[in-house]
Amino acid sequence: MKTPEKHIGKPMNRVDGRQKVTGAATYSAEYELPGLVYAVLVGSTIAKGRLTGIDTKAAAGAPGVLAVVTHLNAPQTPGSKPTGKDPSQPQTTGSALRIFTDDQIRFNDQPIAVVVADTLERARYAARLVKGQYAPEKHQTNLEAGKAQAFLPTSAKKNPKSPMNDYQRGQADAYKTGAIKLEQEYVIPTEVHHPMELQAITAHWEAPDRLTLYDKTQGTMATRRDFAKEWGLPEENVKVIATFVGGAFGNALHSWPHESAAIIAAKVANRPVKLMLTREQMFTMVGYRPHTWQKVRMSATADGKITAITHESIGQTSTYEEFTESTLAQTRMMYQSPNLTTRYRLAALNVGSPIWMRGPGEATGAFALESAMDEMAYLLKLDPLEFRLRNYTEQDPETGKPWSSKFLKECYRLGAERVGWNQRQLAPGAVRDGDWLVGYGMGVGTFGAHRGSSKASARLLPNGTVLLQSAVTDIGPGTGTAMTQIAADTLGLAPAKIRFEWGNSDFAQAPTQGGSAIVNTVGPAVQEVCLALKDKLRELAGAGNAAFASAKKEDVIFADDHLTLSGNDTARASYADLVKQAGGTAVTVQSKPNGENGQKYSMYSFSVHFAQVRVHVLTGEVRVSKLVSCADAGTIINEKTAGNQMKGGAVGGIGMALMEHAIIDDRFGRYVTKDLADYHVPVHADAPDIQVAFVNQPDPYVNALGTKGIGEIATIGVAPAIANAVFNATGKRVRELPITPDKLV
């Protein structure tokens, strides 16, 4: 008997690769439905005030127009009725802004109408004919001005255990008495997710009380829940399909106004409706990484031991929703500082709501923390890597718990070696190559290793193949591929005989894809459902063959589409026969929901990024010439897709460091960066050949697979690595991102 081939850890090609390279992958605006019509949103042109009137006559009379919906004629849904809540208490993250319910304008480009027409061109034209009249009020879109009214999030006020509360260990603000002190402010601008796929939804009322949505969402079940609630429908009457999602990076973690608008439009027009946002609208109504001010004060002993850190943050949110993120989490647990203070505040502005963007919060916080670490190392005349090693934590200083696993030192070693850290000069501006200054920098990232609750279903079909289903989405990391590998190893089946289906809210319960938690969460569910399927098969085999019934569990071998028994050459039951035996159609099992595994350990993924940059002495242009990302992310299921995800996160970090900034003209409260020509994201020429190294050691506690998650740590820490390298190259410390040439000349 041969040992079944192992698939976990192998660089298997993606299961949906062929669809993606042939154009056959279907995204949410690409479903052909009979009678499909087009919806286009009309946005407000003021940031705050009231709609005093809205002229829809010309639009309604334009050729091909089927409906023009505004707050004056929109159907009121159960979910849009006032809840009686105190309006001065904005909602916490997760609830969509109800649209077309009142005349209030809360941000610029807020949808004030949706136009439905028989063709896209006609809908777009008619949308231009809708004119709002406004009673504007004084708006505030400037974070610097909004800081004066910054407040503790309501979630923290209500819940003393909320991590958004002020945190204190040791003495408060003890940096004041430290030997060597540092006090600096750091700012990141608003950054926008900008997945390549414009946010799109196709809404289809299949019956007056049955709704199907083909939607760009990271969570089919969350979207189903939101819109079932909005329309007062039982959840099973709403189906959400998101088989292919053209990137999201967090911006499809939330239900947004355009989704509500499309569903309303489909109801009013009584036709399936397709709505795709414009690139301008991607800035205003589907979230962003919020403009954030931070201050870090740090003290250390002359021999490089941190004695105190105080880290404060004020992030922007909207006036109707309190968006919070874990900006200060990394500061509390990364370094061994006996005295540590963090304070998190929000500033509510007349803007759309933010939403978590790749490495949410932590990426913002890490820019400040890891820049400050570099600044302190410089003050101490210490190598920044050595400084970090002197303050390395062997257990979580925030909770006092041991780490479930931590191989960050191994990451440091791998990365330093690959980038050539020994070439780094302590003195900035010391290395020049022609017209370019060369520098090295590092930045550390971490993100909680979470395991959520999930189920999976498995069906053995008569042809001996297994169909697995999960409501989870795959926004690009290769979830479907990883799950197939996990199932293949658990079942002893070739990946080609397994089909993993995802992206449908009718499938087995799964969480929203985000927070680097999917392999940790759905992976074990797939593993468990496969084990349950094997139990069922063993049972069936036992019923047909006494040898199986009396055999010990561990003697039953699952391989090559058959059950066999170790030490028994005659016992043999084919999967296909077992299906027949079970009634002919399939053997079906569903796993139980599982969840977080104990609270005895602090569970985190870790990463370190090393950058080599070149800065032009005259033009101030920065090129990232080397980028090495090393991760302690537990077991790596697929080196190819995981490596790709790490590289992608690094490219996101290059964008954050060097070019991404959405700018509002505060006089109008409107973005002047309105498309991808103004809002720069990295192109091919900005990305070096990024090197990735995984420690690839299983975590014993997060889940049975040993995984910890990759998506966030791929980005967290990259921006400060680059900023630190720019300092090393030039001696110029840029504390407000992005590091554009104007800041260096």
Binding site: V672, H680, H684
Partner: protein, 326 residues
């Protein structure tokens, strides 16, 4: 986008007549800027005259110069053997612009006629004198980090975004035009205009006039040339500013020089005084710095583009250094 009439003549005269007949008609060639502006409601022609089938794609020797048809694609010009041999600066500038796909669509004439990328011009909900005369200049007191440091007016501080035009103005090109009143020639330097009180007019084209070709006289600037474009990412971005530099060297002595900047004014900005300052000088960084200082005389910054006063001279020096070493 509004509906429009669409005609596709095959003769230049028919195209000119088709535009002349209609107050709100426009030519369309590559469409890479016009289609974009029409989608956003910034430009709303009622009639489009598609000139892509006019015979204006030739690149040929004419007398002691090179004539490039107005419909020659940016990619075709950049790859053309004659262009690379006689005017490598033009090929460099073209390849610094846009992306391969856009260069396969954009024409020489259309590239010259690009509108500004000023955000206030693009957003119909904000004021812009260029888009809507009398509505005010949004950039003047607004976000103006991309804006002009030369030749602006209090009506408009936008910049012209073309890279190709910066090279053409440096190379003393001439624009060939055909219009209802016949054919004429215009020095490239006089083609684009400064905003003054009428920023709605980008160029000195007469109504219904069609660009038929650009002519570039032969010059000694066939080797020591460079197009230095400074942008916020490594490729596929409009310039913060750019410099076209060309030197004619005798040993290490500068016999003649050409210098022009992009991204600093409402038109490609020729730096004649700086050119003069270089003649007879040795090709050294010190001489380049002196010329750069001359070039920047009269520059004035706004709230967010003060960096251009530092970046400008640096980019000039870098362009000249690279050109000299080429």
């Amino acid at each position: 986008m509004n509906q429009f009439q669409y005609v596709r003549p095959t003769k230049a005269q028919a195209a000119i007549d088709a535009v002349a007949k209609d107050a709100n008609a426009a030519f369309i060639a590559g469409g890479t800027n016009l289609v974009d502006l029409m989608k956003r409601g910034v430009m709303t022609p009622q009639k489009l005259v598609d000139i892509n089938r006019l015979p204006l794609r030739q690149i040929e020797r004419v007398g002691t110069g090179l004539r490039i048809g107005a419909l020659a694609l940016n990619s075709a010009v950049a790859d053309d053997r004659l262009v690379r041999e006689k005017h490598p600066l033009l090929a460099l500038a073209l390849n610094a612009g846009a992306s391969p796909q856009l260069r396969n669509m954009a024409t020489v004439g259309g590239n010259m006629l690009q509108r500004t990328r000023c955000a206030y011009f693009y957003d119909v909900a904000m004021p812009c004198n260029k888009r809507q005369p009398g509505s005010g200049c949004g950039a003047l007191e607004g976000i103006n980090r991309m804006h002009a440091i030369f030749g602006f007016s209090d009506k408009c501080i936008a910049v012209h975004p073309s890279d190709m035009s910066v090279a053409l103005v440096a190379l003393d090109a001439t624009v060939l035009l055909s219009g209802p009143k016949g054919d004429r020639k215009l020095a490239f330097a006089d083609f684009h205009r400064l905003p003054g009180t009428t920023p709605e007019r980008d160029t000195n084209l007469e109504p219904s006039e069609l660009i038929t070709a650009v002519e570039i006289p032969d010059s000694p600037f066939t080797r020591h040339v460079h197009y230095q474009k400074v942008r916020e990412r490594a490729s596929y971005a409009f310039a913060l500013l750019s410099v076209a530099a060309a030197l004619d060297l005798d040993g290490n002595t500068i016999k003649a020089a050409r210098l022009a900047m992009g991204g600093v004014a409402h038109k490609p900005w020729r730096l004649a005084a700086a050119e003069q300052a270089l003649v007879g000088q040795p090709a050294t960084e010190a001489a380049f710095q002196r010329a750069a200082a001359v070039a920047m005389q009269g520059a004035k910054a706004f709230k967010h583009n003060e960096y251009k006063l530092r970046l400008g001279p640096n980019a000039i020096v870098q362009a000249l250094k690279t050109a000299a070493a080429a």
